[in-house]
């Protein structure tokens, strides 16, 4: 019988990140997404006879930033190589990539696991290369269409060491890379549009074995969830194969997200021998120390650094800090809210609660939020200064979301200010007690749980506007008598 516990997975990820330059890696054509087919492919992208590549120097800056963020060495000189294969979306019949002397080599990334522990994943290298075009099979009867708009878009491929042990770790690593590239502003990291793509090298071995099992490479995994599912599937498939007495074949597999399976690519879909050799059309690139140090000096705060700052400065929990810091836009939003509300903890709760819930409900990006950070900050400060209760604040927030009005306007127009006049609350408490003599007797005879009933009745009496703290306090006094 199969015993999955005897096995461990060895996983390495290759992550392709599209760099958000205005023009392509080796040509001046635009890199915008979504233009009509072949309208953003110039003579160089079309591999016209006689054309030559010219390196877009903007990518060097981006790659160096990434290298620094990944605690890696920056190679100088760094050189380009040709990777030869025939495919219609590869117009030159080779891809310009890097083999020896990749721009980034030998780094690491610390990732946080679900149990809060930290694991260090080695980064083998990150190299620059050009993206391929796209083959379109749907619209052409018996033929394929080729769109070369994407051809030549700069990519950086980040290759991890095979030090990832589970699908969950793989996702944590991927999310961490995603977070870093967004922080560095070198890519939008949009997996659905293909700006970030992931290939997973997976093998399994019996726990305690030193040597690695035969690995497969699963391609075409384009969301965090699919990465987790694809690796899960592949691990189980490999264990089942081996336990059924079969051998794992070293091969490239495609993930099918609809069936949640992986299947081998037909052998013609990939070449075995890429015949790499140095690209003679491009000279090795020397990165001056000054260039690298100027980038070092201008590095933004990175997710891990931000997380530590949030914990120390705002006194947030580790969990809150890392959740907020994972997304740069979210972290920025949080800090803007705090600037207004002056209450970090409450702001964090609101952002991760109501605010994210609304965004997710409407599938909105934070930049498209219907409530601004300043508006949310004001709302939270109205809770802090007891103008409204937390419960009313939720109502107000929903109205703000729907109307884009400010909190103060909604509170004023709808008379939602909290009742904090002690005598007014006392009157309400007395009214509730006198109307509920049965419950009073039961309470006094020991049914403590009925305290909540009285609170609820008073709040109801006040239409939710009574200050809950004051209600509690007065009720306690009155019910003792």
């Amino acid at each position: 019988m199969s015993n999955k516990n005897q096995w461990e997975a060895v996983i390495g990820l290759e992550i392709h990140v599209q760099l958000s330059t205005n023009s392509k890696l080796f040509s001046g054509a635009s890199t915008n997404f979504g233009a009509p087919p072949n309208t953003q492919a110039c003579n160089v992208d079309l591999a016209m006879p006689g054309v030559l590549p010219v390196l877009n120097e903007e990518v060097l800056k981006m790659a160096v930033k990434l290298g620094i963020a990944l605690n890696a060495n920056i190679n100088s000189p760094t050189s380009f190589a040709r990777k030869n294969y025939f495919y219609p979306d590869s117009p030159k019949g080779y891809q310009i990539s890097q083999m020896d002397n990749p721009i980034v080599e030998g780094g690491f990334l610390d990732i946080e696991l679900e149990d809060g522990s930290v694991k260090r994943i080695g980064i083998t290298r990150a190299h620059l290369e050009e993206d391929a075009g796209k083959s379109l099979h749907e619209d052409f009867e018996g033929q394929s269409g080729i769109d070369l708009n994407r051809a030549g878009t700069p990519l950086i491929e980040i290759v991890s060491e095979p030090e990832i042990s589970s699908p969950e770790e793989a996702v944590a690593y991927l999310k961490s890379i995603h977070s870093i590239i967004r922080y560095l502003d070198i890519s939008d990291g949009n997996m659905a549009e293909g700006s970030m793509r992931c290939d997973a090298n997976v093998s399994v071995r019996k726990i305690g074995t030193a040597e690695l099992g035969t690995r497969t490479e699963t391609k075409n995994v384009n969301s965090f969830r699919f990465v987790e599912k694809a690796i899960h599937y592949e691990i189980n498939r490999q264990i089942n194969e081996i336990e059924s007495g079969n051998r794992i074949i070293q091969e490239t597999r495609l993930y099918d997200s609809q069936k949640n399976t992986t299947r081998p690519m037909r052998s013609k879909e990939f070449a075995n021998d890429y015949r790499y050799f140095p690209e003679p059309d491009l000279l090795p690139v020397v990165l001056e120390d000054e260039f690298i140090s100027s980038i070092k000096e201008s590095m933004p705060e990175l997710p891990n650094e931000k997380k530590i700052r949030f914990t120390e400065f705002y006194k947030l929990s580790e969990y809150d800090s890392s959740l907020l810091a994972a997304d740069k836009d979210l972290a920025d939003f949080f800090e803007e809210v705090v600037e207004e509300s002056e209450s970090p903890k409450l702001s964090a709760n609101w952002i991760m609660g109501e605010f994210l819930a609304e965004l997710n409900k409407e599938h909105l990006d934070i930049s498209k939020s219907k409530v601004t950070s300043k508006q949310l900050g004001v709302l939270i400060s109205r809770i802090e200064d007891s103008t409204i209760s937390g419960k009313i604040a939720k109502e107000v927030f929903e109205k703000m979301w729907d109307s884009s009005k400010d909190a103060d306007d909604i509170i004023r127009d709808q008379g939602l200010e909290q009742v904090t006049d002690l005598s007014e609350i006392e009157a309400m408490v007395e009214k509730v007690i006198s109307e509920n003599q049965d419950q009073l007797e039961k309470y006094l005879s020991g049914k403590d749980r009925l305290f909540g009933f009285f609170v609820g009745q008073v709040m109801k009496e006040s239409q939710g506007k009574a200050n809950p703290g004051q209600v509690n306090q007065i009720l306690k006094q009155k019910l003792k008598k």
Partner: protein, 484 residues
């Protein structure tokens, strides 16, 4: 004297002092092309309409006193240089229907100087060949004797200038493709330092060796054209960002005391007596001109040919992958599927020499062979370059025959690729080291010209040109014209 008998320099002077117009000069060439080229086949495309239009514009500029540096000079471009909206075939069936969507930097620079383009010249397919017999558009004949080859790969450019079907022509040299045809057709041909002339728009054969240059009647003519063609091009990352001297001024520099090196290994080769004799006579000329002659050694020179025939095919195997029938050029009829499209397009579109080199190159780069072939060849290439570095510590230029013999008969070597490859034994080392080389006429045997090669240190085209120019001032080989 007919206008086409004048050198480019004489034509330029004639245009400047209004002895004749560019239109007259252009018409003279066009008429001659019509009558003479059918037996030579030096042109693939004659751009008559464009030439006459450019000549007219040129004449207008002369009339207004706003003439450009090369205004009105009718030249031809090797069909390896992309010319916007004009057929650019590279001598191949693969591009037999290809009109380039843009012009190469070389072509643009010369247009900007006012040259008139007569057409595009025949060449070995994708510049692979030493006899112009691999062209899809037919063999080119040597104007000195139509039974003989003009050399290659720039055989069309050489034959058209030798036959006076153009004032001069652009050409390219990967292993000798300018200098060898220059020698075989009695012309002056210069391949400058790698990176001196932009490769943008010059269809790639072997990117690290390819270099554009000139085929002309005299050193002076070559210097004029080279000055206009050279210079940094941001579109070519391997082009040198170093100022270009005015070579027409440099050619007159004194050469007394010039140190000429004779590589002993070159002269140990099996060379026919007439080649040895003409070279020795040339050495005597240089002695008379005040040059000092010194024997030098190139211990690694025997590696040149094997190194070249690993590296050039390796690079070409990748450079020619883009010809796949998908986007432009030849596509096989009724492809059944993608693989069939690739296989038949490339099988039917490429000739056998091109296929041979793609196969050699693919093999040399294959897993398991890369280290033994490609990498080893790269290391040997460095050894050869080091030999030159050593040599230039003691000499200014290196002298040798350009080729091991005169032109050979059409068909004579087509079944023996190795014998054909030996044509470039003296020219290839300069390409491997990226150095400038020039070939000038220095003799004749059985009515066929012989060439003398001078190789200079990096960026010392000026020194080469002056050494060659002084030779032409005291010899008449370059003045001889073939009877047609």
């Amino acid at each position: 004297m007919e206008l086409n008998e004048l050198t480019l320099k004489q034509q330029l002077d004639g245009l400047k002092d209004s002895s004749f117009s560019s239109t007259e000069l252009t018409q003279d060439y066009l008429k001659r092309i019509k009558s003479k080229d059918p037996s030579i086949n030096s042109y693939i495309t004659v751009t008559e309409e464009l030439a006459l239009k450019q000549a007219k514009e040129s004449d207008d500029r002369y009339d207004k006193g706003k003439a450009l540096a090369l205004d009105g000079i009718p030249i031809a471009h090797k069909d390896i240089f992309c010319t916007e909206d004009v057929l650019t075939t590279c001598g191949s069936k693969m591009l037999s229907n290809f009109k380039a969507p843009y012009s190469s930097t070389v072509v643009s620079k010369l247009f900007d100087e006012g040259v008139v383009m007569l057409g595009k010249t025949n060449m070995d397919e994708f510049a692979m060949g030493s006899s112009n017999e691999t062209s899809y558009f037919g063999e080119v004949k040597n104007p000195w004797n139509l039974d003989y080859v003009p050399g290659g790969s720039s055989g069309g450019s050489a034959a058209c200038v030798a036959a006076r079907l153009a004032s001069a022509a652009t050409a390219t040299d990967t292993g000798g493709s300018i200098r060898q045809p220059a020698a075989l057709c009695g012309l002056t041909g210069i391949k400058p330092t790698y990176g001196r002339v932009s490769r943008y728009g010059m269809i790639a054969f072997a990117s690290s060796l390819d270099q554009g240059g000139v085929l002309a009647r005299t050193v002076e003519d070559a210097a004029i054209l080279l000055t206009s063609m050279s210079g940094h091009d941001p579109k070519d990352s391997t082009s040198l960002n170093i100022d270009v001297p005015n070579y027409t001024e440099e050619i007159d520099n004194n050469i007394a005391g010039l140190k000429i090196g004779l590589p002993k290994e070159f002269f140990e080769q099996e060379i026919p007596d007439h080649v040895r004799k003409s070279t020795e006579e040339a050495i005597e000329v240089y002695k008379d001109l005040g040059a000092e002659i010194e024997e030098i050694s190139f211990p690694n020179i025997d590696l040149s040919l094997p190194v070249y025939y690993v590296l050039a095919p390796a690079e070409c195997s990748a450079n020619l992958s883009r010809y796949d029938g998908v986007r432009y050029g030849f596509r096989c009829a009724d492809p059944k599927n993608l693989e069939d499209l690739y296989m038949r397009t490339r099988d039917e579109g490429f000739g056998s020499e091109v296929k041979r080199r793609i196969l050699i190159g693919t093999y040399a780069l294959s897993a398991g062979y890369y280290d033994a072939y490609y990498l080893k060849a790269q290391k040997c290439r460095r050894l050869i370059a080091n030999d030159f570095t050593e040599a230039f510590k003691s000499v200014d230029v290196i002298l040798s025959p350009t080729t091991p013999g005169t032109a050979f008969k059409t068909g004579e070597k087509t079944n023996d690729p190795i014998d054909m490859y030996l044509q470039d034994i003296f020219t290839i080392p300069a390409n491997l080291a990226g150095l400038p080389g020039i070939s000038i006429p220095c003799g004749s045997h059985n009515g066929l010209p012989l060439g003398l090669q001078l190789v200079g240190n990096s960026l010392e085209e000026g020194k080469l040109l002056s050494a060659a120019h002084h030779f032409q001032k005291v010899t008449n080989w370059h003045r001889e014209l073939p009877e047609l």
